[in-house]
């Protein structure tokens, strides 16, 4: 091994922290542009949706248990269940389903 693991850690951490901290510290004022404000409003929902599906199908041992978790979680969230409840029920659904599926 020619490279130092410590140096690798330094490089990766510096890049990650710069990405996370620079916009927050450099953009100090409220952005006036209606387009940018609207864009930033929609980003959280769209990006979390993109990350959820279809990835949830590959996170579990079988795609069916992931799909069940998606349906149960979305239904619970629709009727206003808390963050913790939705999250916990998704886990329980997968655990129970895989006792039959795997």
């Amino acid at each position: 091994m020619q490279h130092s693991i410590w140096m690798y850690l330094l490089v990766m951490s510096a890049v990650t922290l710069a990405i996370r901290i620079l916009p927050l510290t450099l953009i100090r004022r409220q952005i006036k542009s209606r387009f940018v404000r609207s864009f930033l409003f929609y980003v959280p929902y769209i990006t979390l949706a993109v990350m959820t599906f279809p990835d949830i199908l590959h996170a579990t041992q079988t795609p069916i248990s992931g799909l069940l978790a998606l349906v149960v979680g979305a239904t619970l969230a629709w009727f206003g269940a808390s963050l913790f409840k939705v999250s916990a029920f998704c886990c329980v659904v997968v655990f129970l389903a895989e006792r039959f599926l795997v």
């Binding site: 100090r28 979390l48 949830i56 996170a59 939705v86």
Partner: protein, 242 residues
């Protein structure tokens, strides 16, 4: 605690701190499990448990760290490490921009730095779901449980390897997705545009994961492309009135 109470910090921010810890618990649990498996990749790359702890404490990014560990395992140049980390984590740039608008304009630079330190998919999700202005103590509460869950999980994964049964890993790995659903579904129900674009995002993301060229991109890159595209369309067609 008493002195904090006297200074008023807990009186004004205690509630936010508590709520952050509460909402951070499922994150910490999910992180612990994912980090445990990430630790296996770190061990294969030759990291000690302490190095794994540091990598996870300062990066707190699953795909980004996984990609970085493959760079270490391959003994690639430092420049490649910088580029891969940049690409895998670029979506945090977007999230940091969103959060910059949630802060009160006069919020101190230190709060901005410390909140920025741990902008993850999940912590971004729960803090963006709260009404503005953002109370940094909510983020600190969530970070105080999520960050140890992630970094200690990685270290233990390096030590213990495959000790967790597959059924437990599988079940707990949906905790984070469950949380995403709890964040996006309620506003999707209330706001039709958000609802339509959440549905559209599901469809587009599924399509992109199967289409020839797009499916070869990393998950992080696909996430950025689709987010910028769809949020751009939404902002042009359905601009928000303040």
């Amino acid at each position: 605690m008493v002195s904090l109470n006297k200074s008023g910090l807990l009186r004004t921010h205690g509630q936010a701190l508590q709520e952050g810890i509460r909402d951070g618990m499922p994150i910490a649990l999910g992180y612990f499990v994912v980090a445990f498996t990430l630790g296996i990749a770190a061990r294969n790359a030759g990291l000690s448990p302490f190095q794994g702890f540091l990598a996870s404490f300062f990066n707190n990014a699953s795909a980004g760290e996984y990609a970085a560990f493959t760079v270490i395992a391959a003994d690639s140049p430092y420049l490649e490490m910088a580029l891969i980390t940049l690409v895998a984590n670029a979506r945090y740039l977007l999230m940091s921009c969103v959060l910059s608008q949630r802060f009160a304009p006069d919020a101190s630079i230190w709060h901005r730095i410390f909140v920025g330190f741990d902008v993850t998919d999940e912590i971004f999700g729960i803090s963006a779901a709260r009404p503005a202005p953002l109370d940094p103590y909510y983020n600190y509460g969530a970070m105080s449980v999520a960050l140890p869950g992630w970094s200690v999980g990685t270290a233990l994964g390096i030590v213990a390897g495959n000790a967790l049964p597959a059924a437990a890993v599988s079940a707990l790995s949906v905790a984070l997705y469950g949380m995403f659903l709890a964040i996006i579904i309620p506003p999707a129900r209330v706001n039709r545009v958000v609802g339509a674009f959440v549905a559209l995002a599901f469809v587009a993301s599924f399509a992109a994961s199967t289409l020839p060229v797009l499916s070869e991109l990393s998950g992080g890159t696909r996430t950025i492309l689709l987010t910028v595209l769809l949020a751009g369309i939404a902002a042009v067609k359905y601009p928000r009135d303040e």
